[in-house]
Amino acid sequence: MEKEKLIGGEFKPDEAQHLLYLMVLTRAFEENAEEMYALGKVHGTMHLSIGQEAIAAGASSALTRNDYLLNTHRGHGHFLAWGGDLNHMMAEFLGKETGYCRGRGGSMHIADVESNNLGANGVVAGNLPIAVGVGLSIKIRKTDQVALTLFGDGASNEGAFHESLNMASIWDLPIVYLCENNLYAMSTPFDQAFKIEEISTRASSYGIKGVTIDGNDVFAVHKAVREAAQRARKGDGPTLIEAMTYRWRGHSKSDRQAYRTREEVKEWMEKDPIPRFAAKIGVNDTEMEEIRQQVKQDIQKAVEFAENSPEPDLSTILEGVYA
Protein backbone atom coordinates (compact mmCIF):
# COMPACT_ATOMS: atom_id res chain seq x y z
CA MET A 1 0.00 0.00 0.00
CA GLU A 2 1.73 3.13 -1.25
CA LYS A 3 0.63 6.41 0.24
CA GLU A 4 1.77 9.96 -0.30
CA LYS A 5 4.00 11.54 2.33
CA LEU A 6 1.28 13.44 4.15
CA ILE A 7 -2.21 12.30 3.34
CA GLY A 8 -4.36 15.24 2.33
CA GLY A 9 -1.41 17.41 3.33
CA GLU A 10 -2.06 16.67 7.02
CA PHE A 11 -1.31 13.16 8.28
CA LYS A 12 1.43 10.59 8.12
CA PRO A 13 -0.04 7.22 7.12
CA ASP A 14 0.17 5.54 10.51
CA GLU A 15 -1.15 8.64 12.19
CA ALA A 16 -4.15 8.57 9.86
CA GLN A 17 -4.59 4.90 10.56
CA HIS A 18 -4.54 5.59 14.28
CA LEU A 19 -7.15 8.32 13.97
CA LEU A 20 -9.41 5.99 12.08
CA TYR A 21 -8.93 3.43 14.81
CA LEU A 22 -9.88 6.04 17.43
CA MET A 23 -13.05 6.95 15.56
CA VAL A 24 -14.10 3.34 15.27
CA LEU A 25 -13.17 2.80 18.89
CA THR A 26 -15.24 5.75 20.05
CA ARG A 27 -18.26 4.52 18.19
CA ALA A 28 -17.85 1.00 19.51
CA PHE A 29 -17.37 2.31 23.03
CA GLU A 30 -20.61 4.20 22.82
CA GLU A 31 -22.55 1.38 21.19
CA ASN A 32 -21.32 -0.84 23.95
CA ALA A 33 -22.28 1.79 26.50
CA GLU A 34 -25.81 1.79 25.15
CA GLU A 35 -26.00 -1.93 25.56
CA MET A 36 -24.67 -1.86 29.07
CA TYR A 37 -27.16 0.81 29.88
CA ALA A 38 -29.96 -1.32 28.49
CA LEU A 39 -28.72 -4.22 30.58
CA GLY A 40 -28.82 -2.07 33.70
CA LYS A 41 -25.08 -2.21 34.21
CA VAL A 42 -24.74 1.55 34.17
CA HIS A 43 -26.93 4.05 35.89
CA GLY A 44 -27.32 7.76 35.45
CA THR A 45 -27.29 9.18 31.99
CA MET A 46 -24.86 9.45 29.12
CA HIS A 47 -24.46 11.54 26.05
CA LEU A 48 -23.33 9.78 22.91
CA SER A 49 -21.27 11.42 20.21
CA ILE A 50 -22.01 8.83 17.53
CA GLY A 51 -21.86 10.66 14.21
CA GLN A 52 -19.55 13.36 15.55
CA GLU A 53 -16.33 11.33 15.75
CA ALA A 54 -14.42 13.37 13.21
CA ILE A 55 -14.10 16.36 15.50
CA ALA A 56 -12.27 14.55 18.28
CA ALA A 57 -9.94 12.87 15.83
CA GLY A 58 -9.23 16.05 13.92
CA ALA A 59 -8.80 18.30 16.92
CA SER A 60 -6.69 16.24 19.28
CA SER A 61 -4.33 15.26 16.50
CA ALA A 62 -3.63 18.93 15.82
CA LEU A 63 -2.25 19.48 19.32
CA THR A 64 0.45 18.09 21.54
CA ARG A 65 -0.18 16.29 24.79
CA ASN A 66 1.47 19.21 26.49
CA ASP A 67 -1.57 21.28 25.53
CA TYR A 68 -4.77 21.27 27.55
CA LEU A 69 -8.17 19.74 26.84
CA LEU A 70 -11.41 21.14 28.29
CA ASN A 71 -14.13 18.70 27.38
CA THR A 72 -17.94 18.53 27.49
CA HIS A 73 -20.69 16.12 28.55
CA ARG A 74 -20.51 14.59 25.06
CA GLY A 75 -16.84 13.89 25.34
CA HIS A 76 -16.02 10.19 25.05
CA GLY A 77 -14.39 10.69 21.67
CA HIS A 78 -12.27 13.56 22.84
CA PHE A 79 -11.20 11.63 25.89
CA LEU A 80 -10.01 8.71 23.79
CA ALA A 81 -8.43 10.92 21.17
CA TRP A 82 -6.47 12.78 23.83
CA GLY A 83 -4.93 9.46 24.75
CA GLY A 84 -7.28 8.22 27.43
CA ASP A 85 -6.78 4.62 28.43
CA LEU A 86 -9.75 2.51 27.44
CA ASN A 87 -9.65 0.21 30.45
CA HIS A 88 -9.69 2.90 33.06
CA MET A 89 -12.26 4.84 31.08
CA MET A 90 -14.55 1.84 30.96
CA ALA A 91 -14.01 1.32 34.67
CA GLU A 92 -15.07 4.88 35.33
CA PHE A 93 -18.12 4.34 33.20
CA LEU A 94 -19.02 1.43 35.45
CA GLY A 95 -18.29 3.44 38.57
CA LYS A 96 -15.33 1.33 39.66
CA GLU A 97 -12.44 2.20 41.93
CA THR A 98 -10.02 1.70 39.03
CA GLY A 99 -11.80 4.32 36.95
CA TYR A 100 -10.13 7.59 36.11
CA CYS A 101 -12.18 9.28 38.83
CA ARG A 102 -12.31 6.32 41.21
CA GLY A 103 -15.94 5.86 40.18
CA ARG A 104 -16.92 9.22 41.63
CA GLY A 105 -17.33 11.08 38.36
CA GLY A 106 -18.77 8.83 35.70
CA SER A 107 -19.16 9.60 32.03
CA MET A 108 -20.04 13.24 32.57
CA HIS A 109 -16.96 14.12 34.61
CA ILE A 110 -14.27 11.87 33.29
CA ALA A 111 -10.90 13.57 33.57
CA ASP A 112 -7.22 12.88 33.67
CA VAL A 113 -5.61 16.01 34.97
CA GLU A 114 -2.17 14.42 34.89
CA SER A 115 -2.27 14.28 31.11
CA ASN A 116 -3.61 17.85 30.91
CA ASN A 117 -7.06 16.49 30.20
CA LEU A 118 -9.04 18.81 32.46
CA GLY A 119 -12.19 16.85 32.31
CA ALA A 120 -15.62 16.49 30.83
CA ASN A 121 -18.12 18.90 32.30
CA GLY A 122 -21.74 18.33 33.18
CA VAL A 123 -22.51 22.02 33.09
CA VAL A 124 -23.25 23.42 29.68
CA ALA A 125 -20.60 26.10 29.03
CA GLY A 126 -19.11 25.36 32.45
CA ASN A 127 -15.67 24.87 30.97
CA LEU A 128 -15.63 28.21 29.16
CA PRO A 129 -14.76 30.40 32.16
CA ILE A 130 -12.23 27.79 33.24
CA ALA A 131 -10.54 28.11 29.85
CA VAL A 132 -9.78 31.73 30.65
CA GLY A 133 -7.86 30.62 33.70
CA VAL A 134 -5.97 27.97 31.79
CA GLY A 135 -5.11 30.53 29.15
CA LEU A 136 -3.93 33.01 31.75
CA SER A 137 -1.89 30.38 33.48
CA ILE A 138 -0.15 29.52 30.21
CA LYS A 139 0.49 33.17 29.56
CA ILE A 140 1.90 33.85 33.00
CA ARG A 141 4.05 30.73 32.92
CA LYS A 142 5.17 31.74 29.41
CA THR A 143 4.91 28.26 27.93
CA ASP A 144 3.71 27.72 24.38
CA GLN A 145 0.74 25.59 25.35
CA VAL A 146 -2.77 25.90 23.97
CA ALA A 147 -6.12 25.18 25.63
CA LEU A 148 -8.57 23.34 23.40
CA THR A 149 -12.04 24.18 24.68
CA LEU A 150 -15.05 22.28 23.42
CA PHE A 151 -18.69 23.23 23.68
CA GLY A 152 -21.96 22.83 21.82
CA ASP A 153 -24.22 25.14 19.89
CA GLY A 154 -26.45 25.34 22.96
CA ALA A 155 -23.55 26.38 25.15
CA SER A 156 -22.88 29.42 23.04
CA ASN A 157 -26.07 31.05 24.35
CA GLU A 158 -24.90 30.94 27.95
CA GLY A 159 -23.53 34.13 29.43
CA ALA A 160 -20.31 32.27 30.18
CA PHE A 161 -19.58 32.04 26.46
CA HIS A 162 -19.60 35.80 26.18
CA GLU A 163 -17.44 36.52 29.20
CA SER A 164 -14.96 33.83 28.26
CA LEU A 165 -14.46 34.89 24.66
CA ASN A 166 -14.23 38.52 25.59
CA MET A 167 -11.61 37.95 28.26
CA ALA A 168 -9.63 35.63 26.02
CA SER A 169 -9.70 38.18 23.23
CA ILE A 170 -8.56 41.20 25.19
CA TRP A 171 -5.66 39.28 26.68
CA ASP A 172 -4.79 37.32 23.54
CA LEU A 173 -5.07 34.05 25.42
CA PRO A 174 -3.95 30.86 23.68
CA ILE A 175 -7.36 29.22 23.50
CA VAL A 176 -8.94 27.31 20.64
CA TYR A 177 -12.70 27.56 21.07
CA LEU A 178 -14.18 24.64 19.20
CA CYS A 179 -17.95 24.69 18.96
CA GLU A 180 -19.53 21.39 17.95
CA ASN A 181 -22.67 22.60 16.26
CA ASN A 182 -24.78 19.47 15.94
CA LEU A 183 -27.88 21.54 15.16
CA TYR A 184 -29.60 20.76 18.44
CA ALA A 185 -29.28 21.61 22.07
CA MET A 186 -31.20 18.75 23.55
CA SER A 187 -34.57 19.26 21.78
CA THR A 188 -33.92 22.81 20.73
CA PRO A 189 -33.17 23.25 17.03
CA PHE A 190 -30.45 25.70 16.13
CA ASP A 191 -32.76 28.20 14.46
CA GLN A 192 -35.03 28.35 17.47
CA ALA A 193 -32.20 29.50 19.70
CA PHE A 194 -30.26 31.76 17.33
CA LYS A 195 -31.24 34.52 14.97
CA ILE A 196 -28.02 34.13 13.03
CA GLU A 197 -26.86 31.63 10.44
CA GLU A 198 -23.47 30.78 11.86
CA ILE A 199 -22.18 30.83 15.41
CA SER A 200 -18.74 31.73 14.10
CA THR A 201 -20.00 35.22 13.23
CA ARG A 202 -19.98 35.86 16.97
CA ALA A 203 -16.20 36.05 16.74
CA SER A 204 -16.66 39.59 15.47
CA SER A 205 -18.03 40.62 18.87
CA TYR A 206 -14.57 39.94 20.24
CA GLY A 207 -12.41 41.01 17.36
CA ILE A 208 -11.11 37.50 16.83
CA LYS A 209 -11.09 35.11 13.92
CA GLY A 210 -14.11 32.87 13.43
CA VAL A 211 -14.60 30.06 10.94
CA THR A 212 -17.30 27.54 10.18
CA ILE A 213 -16.10 24.21 8.92
CA ASP A 214 -17.36 20.77 8.01
CA GLY A 215 -17.18 18.95 11.32
CA ASN A 216 -17.58 15.56 9.71
CA ASP A 217 -14.32 16.00 7.84
CA VAL A 218 -11.31 15.06 9.95
CA PHE A 219 -9.03 17.01 7.63
CA ALA A 220 -11.03 20.21 7.87
CA VAL A 221 -11.15 20.00 11.65
CA HIS A 222 -7.48 19.18 11.93
CA LYS A 223 -6.48 22.03 9.68
CA ALA A 224 -8.65 24.59 11.42
CA VAL A 225 -7.43 23.57 14.87
CA ARG A 226 -3.82 23.41 13.73
CA GLU A 227 -4.00 26.91 12.33
CA ALA A 228 -5.81 28.26 15.36
CA ALA A 229 -3.21 26.67 17.63
CA GLN A 230 -0.44 28.20 15.57
CA ARG A 231 -1.95 31.64 15.96
CA ALA A 232 -2.42 31.04 19.67
CA ARG A 233 1.17 29.97 20.19
CA LYS A 234 2.38 33.04 18.37
CA GLY A 235 0.48 35.21 20.82
CA ASP A 236 -2.25 36.10 18.36
CA GLY A 237 -4.99 35.01 20.72
CA PRO A 238 -8.07 32.83 20.51
CA THR A 239 -10.03 31.55 17.54
CA LEU A 240 -13.66 30.51 17.37
CA ILE A 241 -14.16 27.43 15.23
CA GLU A 242 -17.65 26.17 14.52
CA ALA A 243 -17.67 22.57 13.33
CA MET A 244 -20.95 21.51 11.73
CA THR A 245 -22.00 18.00 12.64
CA TYR A 246 -24.90 15.91 13.86
CA ARG A 247 -25.58 13.47 16.64
CA TRP A 248 -27.27 10.32 15.48
CA ARG A 249 -28.60 9.28 18.84
CA GLY A 250 -30.95 11.06 21.18
CA HIS A 251 -29.60 13.76 23.45
CA SER A 252 -29.30 11.40 26.38
CA LYS A 253 -30.74 8.06 27.30
CA SER A 254 -34.25 9.37 27.89
CA ASP A 255 -34.88 11.18 24.61
CA ARG A 256 -37.84 10.30 22.36
CA GLN A 257 -36.53 12.66 19.66
CA ALA A 258 -39.96 14.14 18.88
CA TYR A 259 -38.22 17.32 17.80
CA ARG A 260 -36.70 16.02 14.59
CA THR A 261 -37.59 13.79 11.69
CA ARG A 262 -36.29 10.33 10.88
CA GLU A 263 -35.48 11.66 7.41
CA GLU A 264 -33.19 14.29 8.79
CA VAL A 265 -31.36 11.73 10.90
CA LYS A 266 -31.04 9.43 7.90
CA GLU A 267 -29.71 12.20 5.75
CA TRP A 268 -26.97 12.86 8.23
CA MET A 269 -26.20 9.19 8.73
CA GLU A 270 -25.26 9.18 5.08
CA LYS A 271 -22.60 11.72 5.96
CA ASP A 272 -20.96 9.24 8.32
CA PRO A 273 -17.50 10.61 9.09
CA ILE A 274 -15.91 7.19 9.53
CA PRO A 275 -16.18 5.66 6.02
CA ARG A 276 -15.56 9.12 4.66
CA PHE A 277 -12.24 9.37 6.45
CA ALA A 278 -11.40 5.75 5.64
CA ALA A 279 -11.94 6.42 1.94
CA LYS A 280 -9.91 9.59 2.05
CA ILE A 281 -6.92 7.89 3.62
CA GLY A 282 -7.24 4.87 1.34
CA VAL A 283 -8.23 2.25 3.87
CA ASN A 284 -10.07 -0.56 2.13
CA ASP A 285 -12.81 -2.82 3.42
CA THR A 286 -10.46 -5.58 4.53
CA GLU A 287 -8.33 -3.16 6.49
CA MET A 288 -11.44 -1.62 7.93
CA GLU A 289 -12.60 -5.02 9.05
CA GLU A 290 -9.26 -5.58 10.76
CA ILE A 291 -9.63 -2.32 12.66
CA ARG A 292 -13.13 -3.31 13.71
CA GLN A 293 -11.87 -6.64 15.00
CA GLN A 294 -9.10 -4.95 16.91
CA VAL A 295 -11.56 -2.50 18.44
CA LYS A 296 -13.92 -5.28 19.38
CA GLN A 297 -11.15 -7.08 21.23
CA ASP A 298 -10.02 -3.92 22.95
CA ILE A 299 -13.54 -3.11 24.11
CA GLN A 300 -14.04 -6.63 25.34
CA LYS A 301 -10.83 -6.51 27.34
CA ALA A 302 -11.81 -3.18 28.78
CA VAL A 303 -15.19 -4.49 29.83
CA GLU A 304 -13.50 -7.41 31.49
CA PHE A 305 -11.05 -5.14 33.24
CA ALA A 306 -13.84 -2.88 34.42
CA GLU A 307 -16.16 -5.64 35.51
CA ASN A 308 -13.39 -7.37 37.44
CA SER A 309 -12.43 -4.13 39.13
CA PRO A 310 -13.57 -3.47 42.68
CA GLU A 311 -16.31 -1.04 43.63
CA PRO A 312 -15.15 1.89 45.72
CA ASP A 313 -15.08 0.87 49.33
CA LEU A 314 -17.81 2.42 51.41
CA SER A 315 -15.26 3.43 54.01
CA THR A 316 -13.76 5.83 51.46
CA ILE A 317 -17.00 7.71 50.93
CA LEU A 318 -15.67 10.98 52.29
CA GLU A 319 -12.34 10.87 50.49
CA GLY A 320 -11.36 13.37 47.88
CA VAL A 321 -13.51 16.27 49.00
CA TYR A 322 -10.59 18.25 50.35
CA ALA A 323 -6.93 18.18 49.47
Binding site: K96, R104, G106, G122, V123, G159, Y259
Partner: protein, 328 residues
Protein backbone atom coordinates in the same frame (compact mmCIF):
# COMPACT_ATOMS: atom_id res chain seq x y z
CA UNK B 1 -59.86 9.46 45.57
CA UNK B 2 -58.20 9.31 42.19
CA UNK B 3 -54.46 8.75 42.31
CA UNK B 4 -51.88 10.69 40.37
CA UNK B 5 -48.13 10.74 40.34
CA UNK B 6 -46.28 13.74 41.70
CA UNK B 7 -45.35 14.58 38.12
CA UNK B 8 -48.95 14.38 36.97
CA UNK B 9 -50.12 16.44 39.90
CA UNK B 10 -47.70 19.22 38.95
CA UNK B 11 -48.81 18.95 35.34
CA UNK B 12 -52.44 19.21 36.32
CA UNK B 13 -51.81 22.26 38.47
CA UNK B 14 -50.12 24.02 35.58
CA UNK B 15 -52.80 22.95 33.13
CA UNK B 16 -55.66 24.13 35.32
CA UNK B 17 -54.15 27.43 36.28
CA UNK B 18 -53.16 28.24 32.70
CA UNK B 19 -56.70 27.56 31.58
CA UNK B 20 -58.03 29.91 34.22
CA UNK B 21 -55.46 32.65 34.39
CA UNK B 22 -54.06 34.24 31.27
CA UNK B 23 -51.26 35.83 33.23
CA UNK B 24 -49.64 32.49 33.88
CA UNK B 25 -46.99 31.22 31.50
CA UNK B 26 -44.21 28.68 31.81
CA UNK B 27 -40.64 29.24 30.66
CA UNK B 28 -37.63 26.97 30.64
CA UNK B 29 -35.34 24.75 28.64
CA UNK B 30 -36.85 21.96 26.54
CA UNK B 31 -40.26 22.24 28.15
CA UNK B 32 -42.15 22.29 24.86
CA UNK B 33 -41.99 19.35 22.45
CA UNK B 34 -39.68 17.56 24.86
CA UNK B 35 -42.03 18.17 27.76
CA UNK B 36 -39.27 19.04 30.21
CA UNK B 37 -36.39 16.87 31.37
CA UNK B 38 -38.71 15.21 33.89
CA UNK B 39 -41.84 15.40 31.78
CA UNK B 40 -43.70 17.85 33.99
CA UNK B 41 -44.87 20.13 31.20
CA UNK B 42 -45.59 17.13 28.90
CA UNK B 43 -47.96 18.30 26.14
CA UNK B 44 -48.76 21.73 27.56
CA UNK B 45 -47.17 23.46 24.60
CA UNK B 46 -49.61 21.74 22.28
CA UNK B 47 -52.44 23.02 24.46
CA UNK B 48 -51.26 26.55 25.12
CA UNK B 49 -48.93 27.35 22.29
CA UNK B 50 -45.34 28.52 22.11
CA UNK B 51 -46.12 31.91 23.58
CA UNK B 52 -47.23 30.50 26.91
CA UNK B 53 -45.01 27.45 27.11
CA UNK B 54 -41.75 29.05 26.18
CA UNK B 55 -38.70 27.04 25.21
CA UNK B 56 -35.57 29.03 25.90
CA UNK B 57 -31.98 28.88 24.78
CA UNK B 58 -29.65 27.52 27.49
CA UNK B 59 -29.63 30.73 29.51
CA UNK B 60 -30.55 30.26 33.16
CA UNK B 61 -29.88 33.87 34.08
CA UNK B 62 -32.17 34.86 31.25
CA UNK B 63 -34.90 32.49 32.39
CA UNK B 64 -34.88 33.92 35.89
CA UNK B 65 -34.77 37.45 34.52
CA UNK B 66 -37.64 36.72 32.20
CA UNK B 67 -39.67 35.71 35.23
CA UNK B 68 -38.73 38.82 37.19
CA UNK B 69 -39.50 41.23 34.36
CA UNK B 70 -42.78 39.56 33.52
CA UNK B 71 -43.82 39.39 37.16
CA UNK B 72 -43.32 43.08 37.84
CA UNK B 73 -45.35 43.95 34.77
CA UNK B 74 -48.43 41.96 35.66
CA UNK B 75 -47.78 38.39 34.63
CA UNK B 76 -47.44 35.27 36.80
CA UNK B 77 -44.54 33.36 35.31
CA UNK B 78 -43.48 29.87 36.29
CA UNK B 79 -39.86 29.18 35.43
CA UNK B 80 -38.26 25.76 35.24
CA UNK B 81 -34.57 25.20 35.86
CA UNK B 82 -33.83 21.83 34.28
CA UNK B 83 -31.78 20.56 37.23
CA UNK B 84 -31.75 22.47 40.49
CA UNK B 85 -27.97 22.70 40.24
CA UNK B 86 -28.15 25.16 37.39
CA UNK B 87 -29.90 27.67 39.59
CA UNK B 88 -26.35 28.75 40.41
CA UNK B 89 -26.59 30.63 37.15
CA UNK B 90 -29.81 32.38 38.17
CA UNK B 91 -28.67 33.59 41.56
CA UNK B 92 -28.18 37.21 40.62
CA UNK B 93 -31.73 37.60 39.39
CA UNK B 94 -33.20 35.66 42.30
CA UNK B 95 -31.19 37.11 45.14
CA UNK B 96 -30.31 40.64 44.09
CA UNK B 97 -33.41 41.36 42.01
CA UNK B 98 -36.51 39.23 42.69
CA UNK B 99 -36.01 38.92 46.45
CA UNK B 100 -35.08 42.52 47.15
CA UNK B 101 -37.08 44.42 44.57
CA UNK B 102 -40.23 44.93 46.58
CA UNK B 103 -38.25 46.08 49.58
CA UNK B 104 -35.87 48.33 47.65
CA UNK B 105 -38.79 49.97 45.91
CA UNK B 106 -40.44 50.83 49.21
CA UNK B 107 -43.02 48.03 49.12
CA UNK B 108 -44.43 49.31 45.87
CA UNK B 109 -43.67 46.41 43.51
CA UNK B 110 -44.89 42.84 43.43
CA UNK B 111 -42.84 39.96 42.07
CA UNK B 112 -45.26 37.03 41.74
CA UNK B 113 -43.07 34.37 40.17
CA UNK B 114 -42.35 30.72 40.83
CA UNK B 115 -39.11 28.98 39.98
CA UNK B 116 -39.30 25.20 39.90
CA UNK B 117 -36.11 23.30 40.83
CA UNK B 118 -35.84 19.52 40.45
CA UNK B 119 -33.47 18.65 43.25
CA UNK B 120 -31.73 15.69 44.68
CA UNK B 121 -29.70 12.57 44.19
CA UNK B 122 -30.57 8.96 43.54
CA UNK B 123 -30.56 8.91 39.75
CA UNK B 124 -26.86 8.39 39.11
CA UNK B 125 -26.53 11.87 37.68
CA UNK B 126 -23.48 12.59 39.85
CA UNK B 127 -22.06 15.74 41.38
CA UNK B 128 -23.29 18.48 39.05
CA UNK B 129 -26.85 17.21 38.60
CA UNK B 130 -27.93 16.10 42.07
CA UNK B 131 -27.77 19.09 44.34
CA UNK B 132 -30.14 20.25 47.07
CA UNK B 133 -29.61 23.92 47.75
CA UNK B 134 -32.89 24.98 49.38
CA UNK B 135 -31.27 26.49 52.45
CA UNK B 136 -29.51 29.10 50.33
CA UNK B 137 -32.92 30.51 49.50
CA UNK B 138 -34.23 30.22 53.04
CA UNK B 139 -31.35 32.54 53.87
CA UNK B 140 -32.55 35.19 51.40
CA UNK B 141 -35.21 37.49 52.89
CA UNK B 142 -37.86 38.20 50.28
CA UNK B 143 -38.02 34.68 48.88
CA UNK B 144 -40.38 31.90 49.91
CA UNK B 145 -39.26 28.29 49.72
CA UNK B 146 -41.63 25.39 49.18
CA UNK B 147 -40.83 21.64 49.23
CA UNK B 148 -43.73 19.33 48.46
CA UNK B 149 -43.34 15.69 49.44
CA UNK B 150 -46.52 14.14 47.99
CA UNK B 151 -48.62 14.45 44.84
CA UNK B 152 -51.38 16.09 46.89
CA UNK B 153 -49.00 18.68 48.26
CA UNK B 154 -47.34 19.16 44.90
CA UNK B 155 -50.55 20.31 43.27
CA UNK B 156 -51.89 22.36 46.15
CA UNK B 157 -48.60 24.03 46.92
CA UNK B 158 -47.82 24.81 43.30
CA UNK B 159 -51.19 26.49 42.88
CA UNK B 160 -50.68 28.43 46.11
CA UNK B 161 -47.20 29.45 44.99
CA UNK B 162 -48.51 30.76 41.70
CA UNK B 163 -51.21 32.69 43.55
CA UNK B 164 -48.67 34.17 45.94
CA UNK B 165 -47.47 37.70 45.23
CA UNK B 166 -43.87 36.91 46.14
CA UNK B 167 -41.06 35.06 44.41
CA UNK B 168 -41.30 31.41 45.37
CA UNK B 169 -38.54 28.82 45.01
CA UNK B 170 -40.35 25.54 44.46
CA UNK B 171 -38.14 22.54 45.20
CA UNK B 172 -39.26 19.26 43.71
CA UNK B 173 -37.39 16.00 44.15
CA UNK B 174 -36.49 13.82 41.19
CA UNK B 175 -37.20 10.61 43.06
CA UNK B 176 -40.71 11.79 43.89
CA UNK B 177 -41.91 12.35 40.31
CA UNK B 178 -43.06 8.77 39.97
CA UNK B 179 -44.58 8.40 43.43
CA UNK B 180 -48.37 8.10 43.52
CA UNK B 181 -51.03 9.43 45.82
CA UNK B 182 -54.58 10.76 45.97
CA UNK B 183 -55.10 14.12 44.28
CA UNK B 184 -58.46 15.94 44.00
CA UNK B 185 -59.50 16.84 40.49
CA UNK B 186 -60.57 20.36 41.25
CA UNK B 187 -58.17 23.23 41.85
CA UNK B 188 -57.17 23.69 45.47
CA UNK B 189 -54.42 25.44 47.32
CA UNK B 190 -52.43 24.51 50.39
CA UNK B 191 -51.51 27.68 52.25
CA UNK B 192 -47.81 28.51 52.25
CA UNK B 193 -46.45 28.45 55.78
CA UNK B 194 -48.44 25.56 57.21
CA UNK B 195 -46.64 22.52 58.54
CA UNK B 196 -48.31 19.17 58.11
CA UNK B 197 -48.45 16.43 60.74
CA UNK B 198 -48.13 13.48 58.41
CA UNK B 199 -48.22 10.81 61.07
CA UNK B 200 -48.97 11.00 64.74
CA UNK B 201 -46.91 9.39 67.41
CA UNK B 202 -45.80 10.00 70.95
CA UNK B 203 -42.25 8.74 71.32
CA UNK B 204 -40.25 10.90 68.97
CA UNK B 205 -40.82 13.69 66.47
CA UNK B 206 -39.23 13.51 63.06
CA UNK B 207 -39.24 16.72 61.07
CA UNK B 208 -38.37 15.87 57.49
CA UNK B 209 -38.52 17.54 54.11
CA UNK B 210 -39.18 16.38 50.55
CA UNK B 211 -38.05 12.84 49.75
CA UNK B 212 -37.05 12.34 53.38
CA UNK B 213 -40.69 12.60 54.43
CA UNK B 214 -41.38 9.48 52.39
CA UNK B 215 -38.37 7.75 53.92
CA UNK B 216 -39.30 8.87 57.40
CA UNK B 217 -42.77 7.41 57.03
CA UNK B 218 -41.26 4.11 56.01
CA UNK B 219 -38.92 4.32 58.96
CA UNK B 220 -41.87 5.07 61.22
CA UNK B 221 -43.61 1.92 59.96
CA UNK B 222 -40.59 -0.13 60.85
CA UNK B 223 -40.14 1.50 64.22
CA UNK B 224 -43.79 0.94 64.99
CA UNK B 225 -43.07 -2.76 64.88
CA UNK B 226 -40.55 -2.22 67.65
CA UNK B 227 -43.14 -0.32 69.59
CA UNK B 228 -41.69 3.11 68.87
CA UNK B 229 -44.39 5.55 67.82
CA UNK B 230 -43.02 8.24 65.60
CA UNK B 231 -44.67 11.56 64.84
CA UNK B 232 -43.66 12.78 61.39
CA UNK B 233 -43.99 16.45 60.51
CA UNK B 234 -43.45 17.92 57.07
CA UNK B 235 -43.06 21.72 57.14
CA UNK B 236 -43.87 21.81 53.40
CA UNK B 237 -42.94 25.49 53.27
CA UNK B 238 -39.52 25.97 54.79
CA UNK B 239 -39.70 29.75 54.56
CA UNK B 240 -41.99 30.97 56.02
CA UNK B 241 -41.70 28.18 58.52
CA UNK B 242 -44.68 27.18 60.64
CA UNK B 243 -43.14 26.15 63.96
CA UNK B 244 -46.26 25.70 66.02
CA UNK B 245 -47.00 22.04 65.29
CA UNK B 246 -43.31 21.25 65.54
CA UNK B 247 -42.95 22.90 68.91
CA UNK B 248 -46.09 21.23 70.21
CA UNK B 249 -44.90 17.87 69.02
CA UNK B 250 -41.47 18.40 70.56
CA UNK B 251 -43.12 19.22 73.86
CA UNK B 252 -45.18 16.07 73.58
CA UNK B 253 -42.40 13.66 72.62
CA UNK B 254 -39.39 15.40 74.16
CA UNK B 255 -37.26 14.04 71.33
CA UNK B 256 -36.69 15.41 67.87
CA UNK B 257 -34.86 14.21 64.80
CA UNK B 258 -34.48 16.50 61.82
CA UNK B 259 -33.95 14.83 58.44
CA UNK B 260 -33.06 16.32 55.09
CA UNK B 261 -31.14 15.25 52.06
CA UNK B 262 -29.01 18.36 51.59
CA UNK B 263 -25.54 18.35 53.13
CA UNK B 264 -25.70 18.67 56.89
CA UNK B 265 -23.28 21.53 57.40
CA UNK B 266 -24.90 24.90 56.83
CA UNK B 267 -28.20 23.25 55.93
CA UNK B 268 -31.80 23.83 56.85
CA UNK B 269 -31.52 21.43 59.76
CA UNK B 270 -29.57 24.06 61.64
CA UNK B 271 -32.46 26.47 61.34
CA UNK B 272 -34.92 23.89 62.64
CA UNK B 273 -32.72 22.91 65.55
CA UNK B 274 -32.25 26.55 66.50
CA UNK B 275 -35.93 27.35 66.28
CA UNK B 276 -36.77 24.42 68.49
CA UNK B 277 -34.14 25.49 70.95
CA UNK B 278 -35.46 29.03 70.90
CA UNK B 279 -39.02 27.82 71.50
CA UNK B 280 -40.77 26.80 74.69
CA UNK B 281 -40.03 23.20 73.71
CA UNK B 282 -36.43 23.55 74.91
CA UNK B 283 -37.42 22.95 78.49
CA UNK B 284 -39.17 19.73 77.52
CA UNK B 285 -36.36 18.12 75.55
CA UNK B 286 -35.21 14.77 76.94
CA UNK B 287 -32.40 14.59 74.46
CA UNK B 288 -30.56 16.92 72.12
CA UNK B 289 -32.29 17.52 68.82
CA UNK B 290 -30.31 15.59 66.22
CA UNK B 291 -29.80 16.19 62.53
CA UNK B 292 -29.63 13.40 60.01
CA UNK B 293 -28.65 14.84 56.66
CA UNK B 294 -26.54 14.38 53.58
CA UNK B 295 -22.84 13.79 54.10
CA UNK B 296 -20.63 16.78 53.54
CA UNK B 297 -19.51 15.66 50.13
CA UNK B 298 -20.56 16.16 46.52
CA UNK B 299 -22.86 13.40 45.25
CA UNK B 300 -20.77 10.52 43.86
CA UNK B 301 -21.51 8.67 40.64
CA UNK B 302 -21.04 5.15 41.98
CA UNK B 303 -24.45 3.79 42.87
CA UNK B 304 -23.50 2.40 46.25
CA UNK B 305 -21.66 5.50 47.36
CA UNK B 306 -24.49 7.66 46.07
CA UNK B 307 -27.01 5.67 48.06
CA UNK B 308 -25.06 6.05 51.26
CA UNK B 309 -24.45 9.76 50.85
CA UNK B 310 -27.97 10.77 51.86
CA UNK B 311 -30.25 9.53 54.66
CA UNK B 312 -32.00 6.29 53.77
CA UNK B 313 -34.78 4.54 55.63
CA UNK B 314 -32.38 2.38 57.60
CA UNK B 315 -30.38 5.39 58.73
CA UNK B 316 -33.51 7.10 59.97
CA UNK B 317 -34.63 3.99 61.81
CA UNK B 318 -31.27 3.65 63.46
CA UNK B 319 -30.92 7.28 64.44
CA UNK B 320 -34.46 7.57 65.78
CA UNK B 321 -33.99 4.39 67.75
CA UNK B 322 -30.80 5.71 69.27
CA UNK B 323 -32.49 8.91 70.34
CA UNK B 324 -35.39 7.03 71.89
CA UNK B 325 -33.00 4.68 73.61
CA UNK B 326 -31.22 7.63 75.12
CA UNK B 327 -27.89 7.09 73.43
CA UNK B 328 -27.32 10.84 73.16
Amino acid sequence: MRELTYREALYEALDQVMKKDERVFVIGEDIGVYGGAFGVTADLQQKYGKERIIDTPISEAGIAGACVGAAITGMRPVGEIMFSDFVVLSMEQLVLQAAKMRFMFGGKAKVPMVLRLPEGSGTGASAQHSGSYENWFVHVPGLKVVMPSTPYDAKGLLLASIEDDNPVIFCEHKLLYKTKGPVPEEMYTIPLGKSNIVREGKDITIVATSVEVMRSLEAADQLAKEGIEVEVIDPRTINPLDMEPITKSAIKTGKVLVVHEAAKTGGFGGELVSRIMESEAFAYLDAPVRRLAGLDTPIPYNRNLEYHTVPQVENIVEEARKIVQGVY
